[in-house]
Amino acid sequence: MKKKIFNKTAKLASASMIVASCLLAGSALAKDTVKVGVVSFLTGPAAGVFGVPAKQGAQIVIDAINNGTMPAPYNTQGFAGAKMNPVFSDESGGGTKQVGLFRDFVEKQKVDAMIGYISSGNCMAIGPIADELKMLTIFSTCGTPRLYEEKLRSHVFRTQANAVGDSLAAARYIVDMYPNEKNYTGINQNYAWGQDSYKFFELGMKQMSPDSKGSDKPQFPKLFVGQYGTEISALSLDKAKVVHSSFWNGDIEAFTLQAMVRGFFQKKIFVSSVGGSAVDALDKKFPDGIVMGTRGNVGLLARDNKDPLNMWFISEYKKRFNALPLGPSYQYARSILAYKFAMDKAMKKAGKFPTQDQVIAAMKNIKFKSFTETISMARGGGHQAVHSVGYGLTKYNKKGKTPGAEKVKMYGPECIYPPAGTKSEDWINAGMPGAKCK
């Protein structure tokens, strides 16, 4: 009898222990918060019109998701149910410093993911480190195509399409809108982004308009140099009427101001692939008729887009920051949406709070709803986004008293990006086979 009771008790105790350990294990894996490093320029010349709007865009979406107040399809609370605790960090200081900070985030702060990065130089430095440290990293803005074309990444995603599309869309717009203009030149910053931007613009022009000719003296001034008087003179003397530029931040504003007072824009067709910040900064003083891109259907070109998610974003941003969201605001917010999409998807598949590897697997090749369109992670082995890129002519809206654009043309990803597995330069030189442009 005693032995029977002992055996029964022992079995009950063992069963209880097994159940308890399962419960404990389950609750140890479930998380209330996810800690995510969000990196953008918070000081220095890139802060005011790039890094800070980027941070603000991210903040709007993070807070809304944490509170469960985001519109559909992101109206569930949290990231796989967990609230995000963002740790904002400054991207200034160069690649070496950023690599050190990245390691600190991963090894000491034990973040669950890293999101952000504007500078192409920093992205190229961080990419290999992210794979080495096996940290899920989502790049939001940087544009160099070299990130995936030189080597595929295991832990790195980019929710912003690369500079190739910006440059090819610019070339298409020039060919579409100014078919008689055969000569072009450029002024781009002398680093990865600037060099790549002009290179692909030139390659695109050669294919789309074979009788066009590039200047043998395009300008590549140093980043953030601020004084362009001599360059404006050189461009003015150049017979090329089309001038391509991927200037961003303070450089596009300084250039615009210095060129404007010399009547430069009356004589040249200026193509700016990412100059939207100058349009808002100069407001009604910004000249009409500039060919302006925003690296996607965002910022200036999205102001009139009636997608409910876009209208919500613009409204919330204006309410909180008393300004309209710029391109970088959308880019960072988009990365947050992608992260939520992947987290929720991974949790649904796993049936419990997902591991990082499960989130990475879930994020690969996703198509997720962004503010104005669906973004497809269809390049770079499922890690690189493609989306449409638009250009329009700046035109101040006197009635609404806001900067705007007219004659906007959007170019779909099938028109401006090579198929998966093909290098951009090879594809363009082969005549862009399979490109589908409307």
Binding site: P45, V49, T230, L257, A281
Partner: protein, 298 residues
């Protein structure tokens, strides 16, 4: 003809703004034997203060005639306040120290003032374009030129004349030359060298701030925009000779014109042509092209 006229005018314009800033740097070194890395702070603070003043005039619909006085007053204010603070509370304690320590100290001051800019003015860029826009452009040899940018050449000429006149025709100028030549003898002759140092440093600071204040209407005034200019100023001073005012003028002209030529003819060379010239000068004449003679002390 158009090409050479354009290169010359571009070079002169660029040289003008380099000269105003590097003049202050070279005067400070000539008199005080201090390499002031914080000189860039005067430029940046001058620009921000002028931007703020221009914004105030514009927002309150005040007369456009106030733009120029606002720019000049901003430069003087920044030069006097920052110049006095740095000289009185930092440099005066370090005059007998090793030059490397002084360079490090002024570098630290530069970094502090860069951060203070962000605290005071925020991270958003300022675009005080109104004075430049007001003057419009004129056609010179078939090319449009911003009138405001051309006035920079006039300003640099005035500054050069005032400095020449002040140094050669006034009592203060003679005191300054004496201190430049030999500090010890100057002290022995009863010159209040400390006062000379203060006035010199503040004067140099005003020149640095004037460069920033006058250039502000042509650019985006944002954190960190002074860094490039500081590096170029040092190159000009090294080429011309540290402590030499004619050297600063000639150095600025060499840098401005060579750079303009490179931008027009071979843009890829623009980035290093300045430093290539600096390197050649350092090899051939390390003290600079117009370095003042040093007395031999027995």
């Amino acid at each position: 003809m158009q090409f050479w006229a354009t290169v010359l005018l571009d070079g002169l314009t660029y040289a003008s703004y380099l000269f105003i800033v590097s003049l202050g740097l070279t005067i400070i070194f000539g008199v005080m034997k201090i390499l002031n890395v914080a000189h860039g702070s005067f430029y940046a603070w001058g620009a921000y203060t002028a931007a703020f003043a221009i914004g105030f005039i514009t927002d309150n619909d005040l007369s456009e005639a106030l733009f120029l006085p606002a720019i000049l007053i901003s430069a003087i204010l920044v030069g006097v306040v920052l110049g006095y603070i740095i000289e009185r509370f930092i440099l005066r304690k370090m005059y007998n120290q090793d030059i490397h320590l002084i360079v490090l100290a002024t570098f630290g001051v530069f970094l502090i003032f860069e951060d203070l800019i962000i605290i005071t003015f925020g991270v958003d860029p300022y675009l005080p374009y109104q004075p430049a826009m007001m003057l419009g452009w004129i056609d010179i040899v078939g090319l449009n030129r911003g009138v405001y940018q051309l006035t920079l050449i006039l300003l640099a000429s005035i500054v050069a004349f005032v400095c020449w006149y002040g140094l050669t025709k006034t009592k203060w100028g003679k005191l300054l030359q004496s201190v430049i030549y030999d500090r010890e003898i100057s002290v022995a002759m009863g010159i209040d060298v400390t006062k000379v140092y203060v006035v010199t440093f503040i004067g140099g600071a005003i020149l640095g701030a004037l460069g920033g204040a006058y250039v502000a209407p042509t650019t985006s005034v944002s954190p960190g925009f002074a860094i490039d200019l500081v590096v170029l100023s040092f190159a000009v001073v090294v080429i011309g000779g540290m402590g030499s005012i004619p050297g600063a003028l000639i150095g600025s002209l060499i840098v401005g014109i060579l750079r303009a030529f490179a931008v027009h003819q071979a843009p890829i060379l623009e980035l290093f042509v300045v430093f290539a010239v600096m390197a050649i000068v350092l090899i051939i004449r390390p003290e600079g092209l117009f370095a003042p003679p040093k007395p031999r002390k027995i």
